[in-house]
Each structure stands twice: as structure tokens, then as C-alpha cells.
């Protein structure tokens, strides 16, 4: 992909569209049921597996864990694959970069890795709680939902971005952000 940067998101995105179609077709043919791209249910299964290590009975008796079947499945491997693919691609074109505090965060909150860690952690707690309540994330509801013309996908993606826009403006535009 040696296109000018402005074509990058379109080309890479279109290829993800092709990948999504191939994935659904291939899983239907080979596994007998379609697998659509998604990510957030894997966090439920991973949390369940971790909790099982200390309190197996507790996980077995939880209705939500039971409904999601706590195991390493197709999507779990997909999420691991995302890590490997991003690692490989970023090493290949030398865009791999160690970063402990992202630039926009630094401008607003300074260069403390601890504060960034705290923000990332609590943002993560709230976001995943919301994703599970909404029934999916920008992959499952956004990409897969909109490809299938699912009404829940349009509702969820609208509120993902709508609230994201409001909160990002409140958090990063207020006060002493200097450019």
C-alpha cells in the first residue's frame, strides 16, 4: 500500500469489507455457520476465563457468562489475530512506535503515564459496560451491523459517535490545550 495517505483509509477499509464478506462465506461453507466480525464479546469470555481461575462456580452460576459460553472461540482467536496482524504490519513498514502517552492526551493532561493509564482503564470500564449493554461495539454493531442493514446497528453507532463527539469536546477542548 504505497498510495498517498489520503487514499489509505478508503483502500484499507474497502479491503476489510472484502474480508468481512469472505469471512462470512468461508465460515458458512467450512464451519456450517456464519461468523461476522466483532470484538467485544471476547472481553466477556476472557473475563470469564480469568474469573474461572479463582472462582469457577461463580462463573458457572452467572446468567450472562452462561449465555455467552465462556471458552476460546472463533472471535477470541480473531481478536488475538488483530494483535498479531497489527504487530506484523507495523514492523513491516516501520510504523511501529512505542508510546505511553498519546499526543492529544499530553496536550490536555500532561505527560504522566500514570494519569493516562488511569484514564484508559476507567474509560475502558465504562465503554465495555456500555458495549455489552448495547449488544456490540463499533465492529459488531458498526461494521457487521450496518453491512447487514440492522436497525440496532444504526441506533448504536449513532449514539457511539454522538456521545463520543460531545465527551471528546468537553474533555479535550476545555481549558489549557495549547497547539
Amino acid at each position: 500500500m504505497k498510495n498517498s495517505p489520503s487514499y489509505r483509509p478508503y483502500l484499507a477499509g474497502a479491503l476489510v469489507g472484502v474480508l468481512a464478506v469472505l469471512s462470512v462465506f468461508a465460515t458458512t461453507k467450512i464451519l456450517g455457520k456464519p461468523h461476522y466480525l466483532g470484538a467485544s464479546t471476547t472481553f466477556v469470555r476472557a473475563a470469564g476465563l480469568l474469573e474461572s481461575a479463582v472462582a469457577p462456580g461463580h462463573v458457572e452460576n452467572n446468567a450472562y457468562f452462561a449465555s455467552k459460553k465462556v471458552r476460546v472461540d472463533w472471535q477470541f482467536m480473531l481478536v488475538l489475530g488483530i494483535f498479531l496482524g497489527a504487530l506484523g504490519a507495523s514492523l513491516a513498514d516501520r510504523s511501529f512506535k512505542k508510546e505511553s502517552v498519546p499526543p492529544i492526551w499530553k496536550e490536555r493532561f500532561g505527560s504522566s503515564p500514570g494519569l493516562r493509564a488511569l484514564g484508559a482503564f476507567f474509560g475502558g470500564v465504562v465503554a465495555m459496560f456500555g458495549a455489552r449493554m448495547a449488544g456490540g461495539c463499533p465492529s459488531g454493531h458498526g461494521l457487521s451491523g450496518l453491512m447487514q442493514l440492522s436497525v440496532s446497528g444504526f441506533i448504536a453507532l449513532t449514539f457511539f459517535f454522538g456521545t463520543g463527539i460531545v465527551v471528546a469536546h468537553l474533555v479535550y477542548k476545555k481549558g489549557n490545550r495549547h497547539e
Binding site: L84, S139, G145, M147, I155, V171
Partner: protein, 175 residues
């Protein structure tokens, strides 16, 4: 076994494309929410445009089955609002957080740990929400062509035009 291998291979390709699209970065995700850099929107809508045509075509031919997530108005809206707020602070979504670590943005590890805690918390509170909040406005597996009582092929071309027009507008505005 082939289930796991297929997931891994598709995931590796997905991760490489997310990385090459440059959408794994905090500044791209928050940049979109600040309406300064619409890279992730271009990426997502390009994927959706191509995927929509392919999926709808295969479904019309009977080659694949759709897997529609049920519409539950209260849960979709309340969950959407919570996700959006957390997303702005975290700067990653669940899929991209994992890719961001692969790209060297190791602070995304904290985002992943937070999301694991959020998933565990949700599992604990789920029984208390199941019959009230999560059930409000439960409408089943709705699709756009379904509620408009039309075929997907009336909706697909219209949405293609909307997405393409949006791309033209974004490029004009230099976003």
C-alpha cells in the same frame, strides 16, 4: 480446530488492514470525535459499503445467513451513550485496543484491563437489569428493509449514494 484457525487467520488480516488504514491510533479515534480528522469514519464506511453489497448479494442468493442483533431501544441507546463516553476517554474501541498494543501503543494495555473489568462488572449486574432496562423497547431482529417493507435492493443503492456523497464532502472539507 478449523474454527480457531480460521478466526486467527481472518484476525491477522483484519489487524494488518486496521494498522495499514492507520485507524488504530488514539489521535485518529479522538480526532474523529473532535471532528478534526475523519480517517476512522472513511475507513468504517468504506468497509461497510463494500461489505454491505457483498453480504446482501450472498444473502439474496441464499449462500449465507444474516445474523441480526436484536433491537432493544433502551439498551441500544443507554449502552451506546455509555460506550461513546468511555470511548472518548480511552481513545480505542475493543477491537482497535488490541491492535494498538501490537503497534507499540502499550498504554492501550490499561484500556484492555479496564474493558475486562467492565465486562466482569456487566456480568454481575446483568441479572438485575435483564427484565427491566434490557427488556424495554425490545423489538426483535429488525432490519432497515424490514421496517420499510421493501427489499434490500431498494436500500443498498440509496445507502451507497449517501456514503459516497459523504466521502466527497469530507474530502472537500479537507477532513
Amino acid at each position: 480446530m478449523s474454527e480457531l484457525w480460521m478466526g486467527l487467520i481472518i484476525g491477522i488480516l483484519f489487524g494488518a488492514l486496521l494498522q495499514q488504514g492507520r485507524v488504530l491510533r488514539f489521535e485518529k479515534q479522538v480526532g474523529a470525535m473532535l471532528l478534526e480528522d475523519m480517517t476512522i469514519l472513511k475507513f468504517m464506511l468504506s468497509a461497510i459499503l463494500v461489505g454491505m453489497v457483498g453480504i446482501q448479494l450472498l444473502a439474496s442468493l441464499g449462500a449465507i445467513q444474516l445474523k441480526i442483533k436484536a433491537t432493544s431501544v433502551a439498551a441500544n441507546v443507554a449502552g451506546g451513550i455509555l460506550f461513546g463516553g468511555g470511548w472518548a476517554i480511552m481513545g480505542y474501541c475493543p477491537g482497535t485496543s488490541v491492535g494498538a498494543v501490537g503497534e507499540g501503543r502499550w498504554h492501550a494495555v490499561w484500556a484492555i484491563l479496564g474493558m475486562l473489568a467492565g465486562a466482569a462488572l456487566y456480568a454481575e449486574l446483568y441479572p438485575a437489569m435483564k427484565s427491566n432496562l434490557l427488556a424495554w423497547g425490545s423489538l426483535g431482529e429488525l432490519t432497515l428493509p424490514g421496517i420499510l417493507s421493501t427489499t434490500p435492493w431498494a436500500v443498498v443503492p440509496a445507502l451507497c449514494l449517501v456514503y459516497l456523497a459523504l466521502f466527497v464532502w469530507l474530502e472537500k472539507k479537507g477532513l
